[in-house]
């Protein structure tokens, strides 16, 4: 018999490179330190942060609510 597993959710964190200005506030506010200073440049030439260990995200939305350029979105996605 197949036991139905609870659906595991992992949030998907996306950064819009049209808006990000590389202020790195998300690095500061994330309680799990998921963001690191990245090498990738946004369209305007700012160094964008990168997301590491996204599976540890607790979906607190602090980064999304703090982002001054509304570039960051945390989406709930099914695995």
């Amino acid at each position: 018999m197949k036991v139905s597993q609870p659906k595991q959710q992992t949030p998907k964190i996306t950064l819009d490179d049209r808006f990000c200005k590389g202020c790195n506030l998300c690095i500061q506010v994330c309680p799990h330190r998921l963001f690191v200073q990245g090498e990738k440049r946004s369209r305007a030439g700012y160094r964008m942060p990168e997301v590491t260990r996204a599976e540890e995200c607790s979906n607190c939305l602090l980064c999304e609510m703090t982002c001054p350029d509304l570039a960051l979105t945390v989406l709930q996605e099914e695995k």
Binding site: F19, K21, G22, C23, N24, L25, I27, Q28, V29, Y46, L62, M65, T66, C67, P68, D69, L70
Partner: protein
């Protein structure tokens, strides 16, 4: 957006958009912005916006509210715009208890015009026009609003986005003069010259460290509160009558009844 990287104004806009969405009031919204960095905030929303004279955002908003009292009128202003140039209008708006929501983004400096000293610049803060340190005492704007007669007064920082969202929603729902002060980081001017760092993350941490809950601050001695800022819901009363309602109740038979003018 035109703001500098790491500016707290963007966070305020971010939170305000969430508040509007959660309350579902976009079609009733009317926004008024003064001059300064924070005066540009409403122009990014697809709503009715007035972008008006320096310091005169509250008089324009008063007229708007009195001609159409069903509107939710929100004023975006800065510390220089709200209590520097327009301090007189601010206290009289609060005195009338007209149903406006005033969101004052306080960065402690005149940021857009080049970093001049503002009425909220901290004591001994070094700015472009106070190169040897500011000798004037800063305003406590929340105390000023409460003393002038505002019925909802709240203060948060950009390091408290969830609490700020709740405060903005309460302020918009509150029938009366709601004043929300948001302490914000200014990496370009105030951060660089007053705080000594232009890193937005460090400035955000400074704001978070300085903040102390207002309930806790009330029971602490004054000496321990030096350099700290009380955040939270500072004042909330509901007994005082709202100004536009008084006007329309005083002249009920007039043709100026808002029901006669559907939008």
């Amino acid at each position: 957006m035109i703001f500098c990287p790491g500016c707290g104004d963007g966070t305020v806009l971010n939170i305000f958009i969430r508040a509007v969405e959660e309350l579902d009031i976009l079609k009733d919204l009317a926004l008024v912005g003064g001059i300064g960095c924070s005066g540009w905030l409403p122009t990014y929303l697809q709503a009715d916006v007035l972008h008006v004279l320096h310091g005169r955002a509250i008089p324009f908003a008063t007229g708007l509210k009195l001609t159409d009292p069903r509107r939710k009128v929100v004023v975006f202003t800065g510390d220089g715009d709200g209590v520097g140039i327009g301090g007189n209008h601010f206290i009289h708006g609060a005195r009338r208890n007209i149903d406006l929501t005033v969101i004052m983004v306080n960065n402690g400096i005149y940021g857009m015009t080049g970093g001049q000293v503002a009425p909220t610049t901290p004591l001994h803060g070094r700015t472009q026009t106070s190169p040897y340190g500011n000798l004037e005492f800063p305003f406590d704007v929340c105390d000023l609003a409460r003393a002038a007669g505002a019925t909802y007064v709240s203060r948060w920082t950009t390091a408290h986005p969830k609490q700020l969202l709740r405060a903005i929603k309460e302020g918009i729902s509150h029938p009366g003069f709601s004043f929300i002060e948001v302490l914000s980081q200014c990496p370009t001017q105030a951060g660089k010259y007053v705080e000594g760092t232009s890193d937005p993350g460090e400035l955000l941490n400074l704001l978070r460290k300085r903040a102390i809950a207002v309930e806790q601050a009330r029971s602490m001695p004054v000496q321990e509160l030096k350099g700290r800022v009380a955040v939270g819901r500072i004042h909330h009363v509901t007994e005082k009558k709202e100004f536009s309602r008084s006007i329309y109740e005083s002249f009920p038979a007039e043709a100026t009844d808002p029901q006669d003018h559907p939008r």
